[in-house]
Symmetry: C2
Subunit: 307 residues, 2 copies
C-alpha cells in the first residue's frame, strides 16, 4: 500500500491528505437541517449529516489528492451511529479510489494490539470464514507501550500489504512534555524515531517502508532530524494550516525528490467555506467547491516550497 500511496502522490502531484474530521459546526446548516428533518436531532441525524458532508467533500477532492484521513474520534463522539458513519466514509473513499489512513492512534499490548490491527487493517477469523472489519489502508499507532504494541500491527501489515504511521513527534503545543525529554542526551522522539526505522526495515516497499511516522508540521527543525534518522519512513505531517504550519515549514520533512512526506490538512480544507478567503466566494451550499479550492491552494503552497 505504501507503493500505491507513493505512486498516487506522484501521479496527482499532491503530497496531501485531507483530514475528514467532521465537527457538527463545520457542517453547513442545510445539510444538518435535512438530516435532522429525516432523523431528528439524534445520533442518527448527526451521523447522516456527517455522511452527506463527507460524501460531498470526497466527491469534490477525489481526483486531486491521493488520500483521506478520517479521525475516528470525531465519529466515536456520536457513539455507535458515529462509528457507522466512519465505516461508510472509509468504504466510500476507497470506492472513489482514495487511500484511507485511519487516524485511530491505537496501541496496546500483544494480543490486544493484534485485535486492533485485525479490526482496522486485517481480517478476523470467525469459524471457517474471515472478514475485514473497518478495513482502512493505513492506521496511526501510539508507541508508548513499546515494540509489543507495534509489532502486532506490523505482522498484519505484512500479510495485508498495508501500513502504519507511528506517532513520533506530535503537532500539539504540549507534545514536548514527554516527547522532548532528554534520555541519555537524546530526546524521546529521536529514540522513538530510531525504533521506527528499525521496525520498518523488515517491511520494505519499493522505496519506503510499510512503517511510517507522524511528525508535526509545527516542529520543522525536529522534522529535519527525524527525516535523517528514519530515511525509509514516510512521514505523515499534521498541523498544517489551522495549527500554524505553513508550506515553507515543510521542506525539511521531504526528501530531495519531493517525496517522503504527506501533509494533512483537516479544518483548513473541510471547513474552508467558513473561512477567508473562501467564505467570500462560496455559499455554504458550495462547501465542497470551497474544499476543492482550498486543496488547490494548499497544493500550490506545498509544491512551491518543496519542488
Amino acid at each position: 500500500m505504501i507503493n500505491q500511496l507513493v505512486a498516487s502522490i506522484k501521479k496527482k502531484q499532491a503530497p496531501i491528505v485531507v483530514g475528514l474530521d467532521p465537527m457538527l459546526d463545520y457542517i453547513p446548516e442545510h445539510l444538518q437541517k435535512e438530516a435532522f428533518e429525516k432523523y431528528g436531532e439524534t445520533p442518527e441525524g448527526a451521523a447522516e449529516a456527517i455522511w452527506q458532508y463527507n460524501k460531498g467533500l470526497i466527491d469534490a477532492i477525489a481526483d486531486l489528492v491521493p488520500a483521506v484521513k478520517p479521525q475516528i474520534a470525531m465519529y466515536e463522539q456520536f457513539g455507535l451511529e458515529g462509528v457507522k458513519a466512519f465505516q461508510k466514509t472509509v468504504n466510500y473513499s476507497k470506492e472513489k479510489g482514495l487511500i484511507v489512513i485511519g487516524d485511530i492512534k491505537r496501541g496496546d499490548i500483544g494480543s490486544t494490539s493484534a485485535a486492533y490491527a485485525v479490526g482496522h487493517l486485517g481480517k478476523v477469523k470467525i469459524g471457517s470464514k474471515s472478514y475485514a472489519g473497518f478495513d482502512e489502508d493505513f492506521a496511526t499507532v501510539n508507541p508508548y507501550l513499546g515494540s509489543d504494541g507495534v509489532k502486532p500491527f506490523i505482522e498484519v501489515c505484512k500479510e495485508e500489504k498495508k501500513g502504519i504511521f507511528v506517532l513520533v513527534k506530535t503537532s500539539n503545543p504540549s507534545s514536548g512534555e514527554f516527547q522532548d525529554r532528554l534520555m541519555d542526551g537524546k530526546p524521546l522522539y529521536e529514540i522513538v524515531g530510531e525504533k521506527v526505522n528499525e521496525w520498518g526495515s523488515e517491511v520494505m516497499g519499493d522505496a519506503y517502508s510499510y512503517v511510517g511516522a507522524v511528525v508535526g508540521a509545527t516542529y520543522p527543525e525536529m522534522g529535519k532530524v527525524l527525516r535523517d534518522i528514519m530515511p525509509k519512513a514516510y512521514i505523515l505531517v499534521p498541523g498544517y494550516g489551522a495549527q500554524g504550519g505553513t508550506g515553507k515549514d515543510l521542506a525539511p520533512f521531504f526528501d530531495k525528490d519531493g517525496l517522503g512526506a504527506i501533509v494533512n490538512s483537516s479544518r483548513g480544507i473541510i471547513a474552508a467555506w467558513k473561512k477567508d478567503p473562501y467564505k467570500e466566494k462560496f455559499a455554504p451550499e458550495g462547501f465542497a467547491d470551497a474544499a476543492r479550492a482550498a486543496v488547490l491552494d494548499m497544493k500550490e503552497d506545498i509544491n512551491s516550497a518543496i519542488l
Copy 2:
C-alpha cells in the same frame, strides 16, 4: 464515580476488576454453535456469541466484584458488529450495578481528545439535545501526547463526575523500551506519574482523585515508587494471573488500609473453565460458574496479601 468505586470495593471486599476481553476461543463451543446457527459464521454471529458469553459472566460475578473492564480492541476486531456488542456489554454491566472501566487507551490532541472523552464518558450536543455515546464510567488514557491530550478528558470527568486511568507503566515485557528510559536521572514512568499527580490534584473525590493510573502487576518495585509519587491516584493494576503477577506482588500498589489499587484479571477469570484447576470441576457449560470460582480464589489471594 471514584467515590462509588471505593465504596463498592469496600462493600464487596474485593479490589478486583474483571476484564471482559472476549477472544472467540475463550467462548465455549455451545455458545458459538448457537450464535452461528442463528446468524451464520459472520460478524453478527461472533458478536452474538460474545454477548451471550459476557452476559453469562456478568450475571455470575456481579455480586462479587465492583467493576468490569471491557477491552474495546477485542470488540473492534469484529468491526461494527463488535462495537455493538461492546455497547451492549457496557449497558448491561451498568444495569447489574457494576462500574464500567472502558479499556480504550485513547489519547489525541485538543478537540480530538475532547471528542473521545465526550464519546466515551460524556454527552455530545446534537442541535438542542445531548446524548451519551458509549457512556462508560471510567476510561483508560494514553499520555504520549502530553497535557493537551489528557486535559480534555479531565474536563469531561469534572462535568460528569467520572474518571480516567492514565497509562504510566504498562505490564508488558517491552514497556521499558520507552517508559523506563532515564530523563534527567528519572525514568519516564516517574515523570508521567508526577504529571498524573498534578492533573489529579484539581479533581479530587473524597479520598482519591478522578485521575488514576495504570501500573502493571509485573513491576511491583515500580508500583511502590509510583504509589508514593501519586498518593491520591487509584492504581489500576493489569497483569495479574495470566501475565505473571501474583497476590504477593501486589502489596506495594496498595495503601496501608488496603485501598488505593484495583487489580484486573481477564483471561484468568473469563477463560477459567479452560484452565486448571477449574477445568476439572466445570464443564464448558459451567463457564460462568468457573469464572465465579476464579474470582473467589483471586479475592482470597489478593486479600491475604494486602490485609
